[in-house]
């Protein structure tokens, strides 16, 4: 691409394994998982009562405060003074779920306080900025959409800097919905494992600050990684299930590479969607094998953090940036028994990768939405 590179100069994340990127990274490398039983879920009649939650984060409105905290951390990390045209790009699946739940319980309801659009508004207000602001309601791939769009806006010179990421606070609606869809595991989420039994609900927020490389250099900012191209496709196959042959996922990966003019063997790491469900993991493994015959290492972060829905690909983009920065691949927590049908290189322990330069951060969603975000070492 001839346009200036869009680079990450700051990151922030609120997750069940830590609310600083250093804590999160250390916990991931140690192979920790945040999954545990929750008494309140049992008391409320949920059939599945394990989840990855952030118990210390109790202030309301919870989703908006998670987003604001993670975004403020990213801005502080970047050392950026918010002047000029600063865009806000936020992805989410459920919006502010608690507001919908309370409306169902008969409490007053305001759409502007509950819908996805509440997030960019809250960030603009908290950060005192008034540039373009977009809410991506693209379900579990939303973080990738937001970060990809922000990087393109920076490259095209539409904004001087962008704050982009995703957020979803714990949602009882999602807990009931995924459980009733028989998509959830009652024990641990085990991405790409032969004994995987399903996904596990998580929560959190992840945000990055994106600037042009020139602007970052000019102000002496540290650069952690570059955000290259976003590949998108739609299965147009089923409301909730992926195409079993993984062709839609493969198309998103291929589109990301083609736009950037990269070859498949450039990719040294894939941060996979890896929900731990039978169908999605099988389709994703097929897609990876079909696009990448050289078998790049693959990690599934949801074994550690659960599935934080719209935040997932944003938090995983932060983790991919950390992997590119440290040149260390994080392990796939709870992956114990490789699935012989998959034939992919699943990272099970933290692994050095001194030559790592390009990585893909992949995320897929209900409705057949497929996303692959290409990222590059600084």
């Amino acid at each position: 691409m001839s346009a200036a590179r869009a680079v990450i100069t700051g990151m922030g994340a609120i997750t069940p394994l830590g609310s600083t990127i250093n804590d999160l990274w250390a916990a991931l490398l140690a192979g920790q998982t945040a999954a545990r039983e929750w008494d309140d879920l049992a008391e409320q009649g949920f059939r599945i009562t394990t989840a990855c939650r952030i118990p210390g984060f109790t202030s309301q409105p919870r989703g908006r405060l998670m987003a604001v905290t993670a975004a403020q951390d990213a801005v502080y990390h970047a050392g950026l003074s918010l002047r000029g045209r600063v865009g806000v790009y936020v992805g989410t699946t459920m919006g502010e779920s608690l507001a919908f739940e309370r409306a169902a319980e008969g409490q007053p309801f305001a759409l502007d306080e509950a819908a996805a659009s509440a997030y960019p508004q809250a960030l603009q207000q908290a950060l005192g900025i008034d540039g373009p602001a977009y809410a991506y309601g693209t379900a579990c791939a939303a973080g990738n959409y937001a970060i990809g769009a922000a990087a393109e806006a920076v490259r095209m010179g539409r904004v001087d800097a962008a704050i982009a990421g995703g957020v979803d606070a714990f949602s009882r609606i999602a807990m009931a919905g995924f459980s009733r869809s028989r998509a959830m595991t009652p024990e641990y989420c085990r991405p790409f494992d032969a004994e995987r039994r399903g996904m596990q609900l998580g929560e959190g927020a992840g945000f990055v600050v994106i600037e042009s490389e020139d602007a970052a250099k000019k102000r002496g900012a540290s650069v952690y990684a570059a955000v290259s191209t976003l590949g998108l496709s739609c299965d147009a196959h089923h409301a909730t299930a992926p195409r079993p042959d993984g062709s839609g996922m493969a198309a998103a990966m291929t589109h990301a590479l083609r736009q950037a003019g990269r070859a498949t063997d450039d990719i040294g790491f894939i941060c996979a969607h890896g929900t731990g469900t039978r169908a999605s993991d099988a389709a994703e493994a097929l897609a990876i094998r079909s696009v990448f015959p050289h078998q790049p290492p693959v990690s599934g972060i949801k074994g550690a953090l659960g599935h934080s829905l719209g935040a997932a690909t944003a938090i995983e983009a932060v983790i991919t940036a950390l992997a590119l920065h440290h040149r260390i691949l994080p392990p796939t927590a709870n992956h114990q028994q490789p699935d012989p049908d998959m034939q992919i290189d699943v990272v099970t322990e933290a692994r050095e990768s001194r030559d790592l330069r390009w990585a893909l951060n992949c995320g897929y969603a209900f409705g057949g939405l497929n996303s692959a975000l290409l990222m590059e070492a600084a």
Partner: protein, 191 residues
């Protein structure tokens, strides 16, 4: 210079009240815009909505409270997501390119037009269906089918920088009216 052509548009509303009915009604309107021949893998769908998923979220949780969380109807759950109309419409219309849902008022309309124009200009798609779909107080839909192929006899042409190169007042007015925010369309047109 690359010209992008708005080849067709529709603007209508419906008395449907159920979110699934509304999506079916929207699909029936949109199918009239889609030509017989197009490349499904290079056809993008770009939806702006203020409220997709909202009423379904409330009704799903109300039902869960009545029946118990372990007995909520799984069929209704996917409709709680704002992206559910986009996934449903892509399936019915076989649009396999980028699939966007932006949530909000004018900014979401401006955003989907921007993404559609960018994808066309960059060659990521060859056709784009840009849609405004709001479900309350009653379903209302506006849509544009965009292409970079042979120009129609009349239409609005945009170059790769998205400047208007053949502005016609009536067409620009229709575009702005369709997306209900003159400034948004003007902002997109000005790049």
């Amino acid at each position: 210079m690359k010209h992008l052509w708005i080849t067709n548009s529709v603007e209508t509303d419906s008395g449907a009240v159920d979110f699934e009915q509304a999506a079916e009604w929207a699909a029936a309107q949109l199918v009239t815009l889609v030509p017989a021949q197009f490349e499904p893998e290079r056809a993008g769908l770009y939806i702006a909505t203020r409220d997709a998923g909202a009423s379904a979220s409330i009704s799903f949780w109300k039902q869960a409270l009545e029946a118990g969380a372990g007995f909520a109807n799984p069929h209704d759950f996917p409709w709680t997501l704002a992206s559910s109309p986009a996934g449903y419409l892509a399936l019915l219309l076989q649009l396999r390119g980028p699939n966007y849902t932006l949530v909000g008022a004018a900014s979401a309309s401006q955003g989907v037009l921007q993404h559609a124009f960018d994808d066309l200009a960059a060659g990521r798609v060859s056709t784009a269906l840009a849609v405004r779909l709001d479900l309350t107080p009653q379903p209302r839909l506006a849509a544009l089918w965009l292409a970079d192929s042979a120009p129609p006899r009349s239409g609005l042409a945009l170059d790769s920088e998205m400047y208007l190169v053949a502005p016609e007042d009536d067409v620009l007015a229709a575009l702005c009216k369709t997306f209900q925010h003159r400034q948004s369309a003007a902002a997109v047109a000005a790049g």
